[in-house]
Structure formats: structure tokens, C-alpha cells
Amino acid sequence: MSTLEIKDLHASVSTDDGPKPILRGVDLTVKAGETHAIMGPNGSGKSTLAYAIAGHPKYEITSGQVLLDGEDVLGMTVDERARAGLFLAMQYPVEVPGVSMANFLRSAATAIRGEAPKLRTWVKEVKGAMSDLGISEEFADRSVNEGFSGGEKKRHEVLQLALLNPKIAILDETDSGLDVDALRVVSEGVNRYRSPENGMLLITHYTRILQHITPDFVHVFAGGRVVESGGPELADDLEKNGYERFVREAAAAS
């Protein structure tokens, strides 16, 4: 059973004016079988948390720890983290012109699984996963994310989630930019991934996606750290009353 532990994590982003601290002591533990929602206002550092865990070079960890099943994640390269079982569904998936989706998915699956999947079963597996998400087959020949609409990009992030089946998935604003139908299809895909073996960290600004994906825990993120934790009812409170109270408190604390 997998566990992701984030302990007193501090991180800053490099800017033209030098490093700017964003994360200010994040503590969070995600266990297999659990779905955690992280909710917070814009600029609170939610996405930074996601990218810092994935190892984006723009963010520097200044102190703290991230452990996956006791292993030090921060000492790993980006690809090692992925092979260790972490996955980040990005808010803005990157276009990679000239690399076909089919080639990309197979390269990724080969890296994650440690061996090239058998061609015949692989084709079937990909087709099935694509059809589950309402992705047309022609996308396999298109360049990674190139010219995809916002919704198509998000479907492909969830497609990768399905095929790579990570231990812990971090979904960064996977709901943003989706219309109602796309939100339903994407949420169904995410729910298929959920299992007693898999843990999930769902980062979102709005409660909308939580009507489709019920979290076990809800955390409010403000001023670069978790300021309050609770059950699904906390999301309802945020829906009614907004983030204002937390933003004020975070501002007062820093």
C-alpha cells in the first residue's frame, strides 16, 4: 500500500527578481485508497505544490521532504519520480510537435512498466482506454497535444492516467476549461482509476468536479500551505462562503 508524505515543504520559484517563496510549510499525507481534494484561491500555491512534487526545474525546494513509500522523492530526477509511481495531470499539457501520441504513449508505458508492452494487447488496451474517454482513434497519429482543444488535452491527461496507472496521481485543475459533458467523461475516467491501491490528490479551484469525484478529505490551501482540513462537508462550506476567511487568516499569519 502506497503512501505519499509531504513534510514541511518549502519551495520558491525563480523569477527575474530572484527566488520568490511560494510554498511555506506544506504537510500532507496521501495513502492508497484515499482521494484528497486541495482547494484554494488563485495564487495560493496549489499548482506549485503539484509541480514541485513532480520536479519541475522552475521550482526550487528550499526545505522539507517528500516521501513515496519512505523513498526520498526530491532526490529523484523527473523521470525517476514518474517511474517510482507518481503522476501529474497538468493544467496546461505541453505540445510536443512531431512526436505522435501513439509513439509517446508507448514510450511512456515502456518506461513506467520497465518493458515494452506486447504490441497486440497494447493496441487493444490503448483503443479501449481511448474509447472510454470518447477520444477518436485518429488522435493516435496526431502530435502530442498539438492543436488539441482544452477539453481534448484534459481527456488525454486522463488517458495517460489510465494507461500508466500510477501509485499516486496528482490532478492539477483537471476540471478547468471543461464543459459539462467533458467534465462528466473526464470524471468518469478519474473514478475508474480510483482503487484501494491508488491514492489521489485533486487540485481544484471550484467544487464543481467534486460533485462527480467524491473526496475522502478536503484541504484548504492558502498562503502556500494547508490551513484547514476536513471531510467532504468542508467543500460545501467553501461553496457557500468562499475562500475569503482563509485568505484573510493566511495574510494575517504571514
Binding site: 530526477t77 523521470d79 505541453v94 510536443v96 512531431g98 512526436v99 509517446f104 518506461a111 495517460q160 500508466l164
Partner: protein, 402 residues
């Protein structure tokens, strides 16, 4: 500043200075051409035409000091629909493709011992022509003409290999309504120098597709000039170059639209990887497109992209578009030079793909757009060539562990 006079320049060749001097010509249409090497001044290195080229590495091709007594054998296999002739410069067909526009091309024209004329008739099978360098320490001048008959459809691979220094002219003369796919590869040994002028002359409704692949050699400078003899011509020039530490790869193109209803499309991509402690890897791309007043309904686009893989590399890119008539379908040009896109690498790595493999994916994808123009199935298929070039690029990537 006064321009130095050149002794022995005939008064009627006063225009020879245009484009050869330090003041660039105002229009690509005004550039001077001549078969006679002495009509051109010896370049000093500051001329527009030569300012990117390291003259010291030309082994005297530019100043008359090269002996040019070597031989660069041209091998053309016998095949149906292919006629091969060896002719002198007095053959009436020589020069049909165009006239030299720089001193090295004129030098080659003045010095070549014999010319090879290859005529393609009907629908011959893909033909591979090999040009072998004159050998290390030797200099040579060469001349090759490819010509099609009306309605011919052909695919030709022109491979350059071996060592030594070669200056040559390649004439491609497309008869009306003929179609030629031409792949030119520069797969030289490390010491080789190749300065080549390509004269591409396109007949009425003829179609020319050129794929230029520049991999080997110390200095390779190729100057293709496209001219259209009649309306309806369609030309696609694509190229890729992979410059390693110390390598100089230069591509100078001129597409001269002088007649109406012709198309041209240019796409060149270069990757560069240098190394500390030696001369920079250097690519130069000059893309001139001229749309003359008579060339109504022209459709043209040119694009150069350079991917700088490491430090110690320099990519120069100069697109020029001259338009003398507004009555055209479209005209555009673009140039972009960049490093590896860190976001692309991060995305691929975040899916578990190791960094070296991610970089290879990106470089292969970068060149894929060019290599896919080499057909792997159908009548003019060249699957073995495509495979060899894929492998050659893999090998280049392995050099610095990119």
C-alpha cells in the same frame, strides 16, 4: 571608404562588383553572374555573399590558389530510362540550368575537366548517383547536369561521400510537365570541403522536390538557385543539417519568381551541437525569395528553424523576401532559432521517459518533418535511404550523449 579596384576587370563587367563588394546589392535580381572566374573579385570575407563563410577553410577555392587537379568521380548506374553522357563544356546543353553567381562556382565552371549529363526519360526506377571526393589533400572541380524529358517522372538520390575538396555546379533542367524528386546528401568524411552551386531550372508545369541532407564534412556550402522558365512550376525545397563541433554548414537559397503562376515552398531545419575547446558548430541559412513584377499569382513560403542543442554553437538565419508585384496568391517567410524546449522535456520526463530518450524524441520529431518527404512506399520509394539517414541522425545524437 573606397572599394579596391580589381585589375583586369573588363569595363563591361563593371557590374561584377555588385554583390561581390562590401555593399550588399539592393535586390537579389541584380546579382552578377558569369561563367568566367576572373569576372569575379577574390572575396575578402566581408562581402554579403561570403561574410559567414570561413574563407581560410576553403583551401584556396575562392582565390585561385587551389590546384583543382584532383578527380571527383561521378558514378551513375545503368538503368532503363536513364542516359549517361560525358561531355565537354562546349556541349550546347551545359549552362541551360543557370550561370554561376559567385567566384567559387565560376572557378568550378572554368576548371571542370568533363561534365556528366544524366537524362531521365519516362518513369525510371529510383536512381542513386554517387559523387566521391578527390581524396584527402586533393582539390577538384566537378560538373553534373540532370535533365528530364517532357512528362518524365523520376526520383534521384545524389550522394556525396569521401574526402578532399570539391567545388562544383549541379544543373537540374526540368522539361515541361516533368516531375523530379531529388535527394541530395552530404555524407562527407570529417576533412571534406564542398562548395556547390545548384542551378534548378523549372519548365512549364514541372514539379521539383528537393530534400537536402547535410551531415558530414568540415565545410559544406550549398547555394541552390531556382528559376522558372514558364508558368505552372512548383518547387518544394526542404533540407536538414546537423552541425557538430567545428563543422560549418551553409545553405544559401534564391528562388527567383520571374514568371506568373508558380509556387515555391522552402523549409530548412538545422540542429547544432558544439563542444568546448574547438571551433563552434555553425549553420548558416540564407533564404532569398524574389517575386518579380511579372510573377503574378505567385505562391511562396520559406521557413528556417534551428535547434541549438548545446553551448558552443552558432546559427545564422537570414530570410529575405522581395516582392515587386502585389498581384500574388501568398508570400511569407519565417525563421526561428531556439534551444531545447524545457517544458517539452519536462512533460515527456514526467511520464517516465528518461531524459536522453526524451531529447532524442524531440530531435527526431524536429527532423521528422523533413525526412518524411523521402517516400518509403510507392513508385519512388527509398526505404533504405530513409533508414540510413535515421540511423545517421541517431549516431549524431549519440556523439554528445544528447
Amino acid at each position: 571608404m573606397t572599394t579596391p579596384e580589381v585589375a583586369g576587370l573588363a569595363p563591361e563587367l563593371a557590374g561584377a562588383k555588385e554583390g561581390q563588394g562590401e555593399k550588399p546589392v539592393l535586390s537579389a535580381g541584380e546579382r552578377f553572374t558569369s561563367y568566367d572566374v576572373e569576372a569575379f573579385e577574390v572575396p575578402g570575407g566581408r562581402e554579403e555573399n561570403w561574410r559567414f563563410t570561413p574563407l581560410r577553410r576553403l583551401h584556396g577555392l575562392h582565390d585561385g590558389s587551389a590546384a583543382l587537379d584532383g578527380r571527383a568521380p561521378v558514378t551513375v548506374p545503368a538503368a532503363e530510362g536513364v542516359t549517361v553522357e560525358t561531355v565537354g563544356r562546349d556541349d550546347a546543353r551545359i549552362g541551360e540550368g543557370g550561370t554561376p553567381a559567385d567566384r567559387v562556382a565560376a572557378q568550378a565552371w572554368s576548371a571542370f575537366p568533363e561534365a556528366t549529363v544524366v537524362t531521365l526519360d519516362g518513369t525510371p526506377a529510383p536512381l542513386t548517383i554517387t559523387v566521391e571526393g578527390p581524396g584527402a589533400g586533393s582539390t577538384a572541380a566537378g560538373h553534373l547536369q540532370l535533365r528530364t524529358t517532357p512528362f518524365a517522372e523520376a526520383t534521384v538520390v545524389l550522394e556525396h561521400r569521401g574526402s578532399g575538396v570539391l567545388a562544383d555546379n549541379l544543373e537540374v533542367v526540368l522539361a515541361d510537365s516533368s516531375r523530379l524528386t531529388l535527394v541530395v546528401t552530404e555524407e562527407w568524411a570529417d576533412d571534406a570541403v564542398h562548395v556547390s552551386a545548384q542551378h534548378l531550372s523549372v519548365g512549364r508545369d514541372a514539379t521539383l522536390k528537393v530534400v537536402a541532407v547535410s551531415l558530414g564534412g568540415d565545410l559544406v556550402r550549398v547555394s541552390p538557385t531556382v528559376t522558372y522558365r514558364a508558368p505552372g512550376g512548383d518547387v518544394d525545397l526542404v533540407g536538414l543539417g546537423y552541425a557538430d563541433a567545428g563543422q560549418h554548414l551553409e545553405q544559401r537559397l534564391l528562388v527567383d519568381h520571374a514568371v506568373p503562376h508558380c509556387k515555391s515552398n522552402v523549409l530548412y531545419k538545422n540542429a547544432l551541437q558544439g563542444r568546448a575547446g574547438t571551433t563552434d558548430a555553425h549553420t548558416v541559412w540564407i533564404g532569398d525569395v524574389l517575386i518579380q513584377a511579372a510573377a503574378e499569382n505567385t505562391e511562396t513560403f520559406e521557413f528556417n528553424r534551428n535547434l541549438v542543442l548545446t553551448e558552443h554553437a552558432r546559427a545564422d538565419s537570414v530570410p529575405n523576401l522581395e516582392i515587386e508585384t502585389g498581384e500574388i496568391v501568398s508570400a511569407g517567410h519565417a525563421s526561428a532559432t531556439g534551444r531545447f524546449d524545457d517544458e517539452q522535456l519536462f512533460y515527456l520526463q514526467s511520464r517516465g521517459i528518461p531524459q536522453d530518450q526524451a531529447r532524442r524524441l524531440v530531435v527526431r520529431a524536429f527532423f521528422g518533418e523533413i525526412l518524411q518527404r523521402i517516400p518509403t512506399h510507392g513508385a519512388g520509394a527509398l526505404p533504405a535511404l530513409r533508414e540510413r539517414l535515421d540511423a545517421a541522425i541517431e549516431a549524431e545524437l549519440a556523439v554528445t550523449g544528447v
